[in-house]
């Protein structure tokens, strides 16, 4: 695949107060290949997303988005390159002080390139996509957890990014909420968006992704398809898929 259609991580290392969170993690996200990063809670999955989004700076290693290494680039240029990426945070991260409509149209309002009428039209279209057209004038506090995540999805969609990251999108949702989110992710993929999800929920992961990466104790120990994962000989993966009382995850907690 050409470099301009990939997001590449090369030997990323990240630590907090001397504790290694990620160690030499290398991964390539290809446009059109939907991927899930799996691993136990606290293993560094979300850190990968934050590094890619520029919210954290790696101790070492490189991030290359669309063939552009971010290293050494001015912040404004990094922001421009990163606009190819949008994210749906775990709790939605909607702006409390703004209405749902203002949340969805936030990036367009910031950029100021479209008229108010055009922004309103796009916002309505994106909210209709997630089935929440009627919530446009409500505030986030008036929405349920699942609705907040759906609004966050429509905000990510409105940003017109090619890659949409999902941080634990189904955590805390009831089965109907989980179904809705999976359904929306598949529809996003049909619209040509590439999704990268971090989760420890295997069911969701298998429902929406083609490729899977597995993080264990700060290292990327597996990268492959669903079949390869299911038939993997790695004890860490076998135990993750079918935990037992003597699970290594329990032992290492």
């Amino acid at each position: 695949m050409p470099e301009q259609h990939t997001i590449r991580m090369e030997d990323l290392c990240y630590s907090i107060d001397g504790r290694k969170i990620l160690e030499n993690v290398s991964l390539v996200l290809e446009k059109g290949v939907n991927r899930t990063i799996l691993g136990a809670s606290g293993c560094g999955k979300t850190t990968i997303l934050k590094l890619l989004l520029g919210l954290l700076k790696p101790d070492s290693g490189r991030i290359i988005i669309g063939g552009n290494p971010l290293e050494g680039l001015p912040e404004s240029e990094q922001i421009r390159i990163r606009k190819q990426i949008a994210i749906v945070f775990q709790g939605g991260a909607l702006f409390d002080s703004m209405t749902v409509g203002e949340n969805v149209g936030y990036r367009m309002l910031q950029e100021g390139e479209l008229t108010q009428r055009e922004i309103e039209r796009i916002v309505l279209e994106k909210l209709s996509f997630v089935g929440l057209k009627d919530t446009i004038d409500l505030y986030p506090a008036q929405l349920s957890g699942g609705m907040k995540k759906r609004v966050a999805i429509s905000r990510a969609l409105a940003s017109n990014a090619d890659y949409i990251f999902f941080d634990e999108p189904t955590t805390g949702l009831d089965p109907i909420g989980v179904y809705n989110i999976c359904h929306l992710m598949r529809r996003l993929q049909e619209e040509g968006k590439t999704t990268l999800m971090v989760t420890h929920d295997m069911e969701t992961a298998f429902a929406v992704s083609q490729k899977f990466s597995f993080i264990y104790r700060a290292r990327l120990i597996f990268d492959g398809t669903r079949e390869e994962m299911l038939h993997s000989d790695l004890p860490e993966i076998r135990e993750f898929l079918k935990p037992t009382d003597a699970s290594i995850f329990t032992r290492h907690k």
Binding site: L53, R82, G91, L94, F95, D96, R107
Partner: protein, 256 residues
């Protein structure tokens, strides 16, 4: 207490001071550059200025009244009660007006700034804004900074004015005529006193907003962390106001 603990405490304190000055410097640099977020500025002016009006009027009035009452008791044996207006004016305009207004605003507004920004941090709203390409300092810090440094001097002028009115209400009970009260004010007050009374709240406003924003943006640990941060803001800004007040007073005494 072991050596490593002391070393870590010193290191983290120095890092916090460094990070505070970095944020302050970046906020100052960005205060005059677009986009200006007028809407956000107007909201903050309303919250900080209009929202604090009642508490400031109440504080000013009662402080003026108590100042006049105490002064009259002290001046009466010397038959100098006609000077009460001047005494209230000097104390209020130079010291109590700026300091009490700032302490009130630090408690009310500083903590609110921290709680708001802290909540945005722990609910990942700040991260979401950064991902959307927003400059956090321009969007969140500078409107609050501008609103506070503009609103606090205005609030102080209001506090000073109502304190003088409050002082007169008490003085009138002791037979002081309005003209005597006003004359003693002009007799005691100099231009530098008014200037000092305006410069202090300007600087205190700067301190309150920057401490509020810095502590808020560095909040960690969920709801408990937000509460802890709000408490830290009130303590830090109150102490800084009192310490700075001494140095500013010393400076104005020197240049007089």
């Amino acid at each position: 207490m072991n050596f490593a603990f002391i070393e870590n405490t010193i290191k983290s304190t120095l890092l916090e001071i460094q990070s505070f000055f970095q944020l302050t410097w970046r906020a100052i640099c960005k205060i005059f550059s677009a986009p200006f977020y007028y809407h956000e500025f107007a909201i903050q002016m309303d919250k900080i200025g209009v929202g604090s009006l009642f508490i400031i009027v109440l504080t000013g009035t009662f402080t003026g009244m108590v100042m006049a009452l105490q002064a009259l008791v002290q001046l009466k044996p010397f038959a100098a009660t006609s000077y009460v207006g001047g005494m209230v004016a000097v104390t209020m305009v130079k010291e109590l007006g700026p300091v009490l207004s700032s302490l009130m605003v630090a408690g009310r507004v500083g903590s609110a700034i921290t709680a708001e920004l802290g909540t945005m941090v722990v609910t990942e709203q700040i991260d979401a804004m950064k991902v959307e390409g927003t400059d956090i300092i321009k969007r969140l810090v500078t409107p609050r900074l501008k609103a506070t440094i503009l609103a606090l001097p205005l609030l102080t002028v209001i506090a000073d004015t109502v304190s003088l009115v409050g002082g007169y209400i008490i003085a009138s009970g002791y037979g002081i005529k309005p003209i005597m009260y006003l004359n003693s004010i002009t007799q005691f007050m100099y231009f530098t006193d008014y200037f000092e009374g305006l410069v202090k709240p300007l600087i205190f406003g700067f301190v309150i907003s920057m401490v509020g924003c810095h502590v808020g943006l560095n909040t960690e640990g969920g709801a408990a962390g937000v509460g802890e941060s709000a408490k830290r803001t009130v303590v830090f800004s109150s102490v800084l106001i009192l310490v700075l007040d001494f140095f500013l007073a010393k400076f104005f005494v020197t240049i007089r």
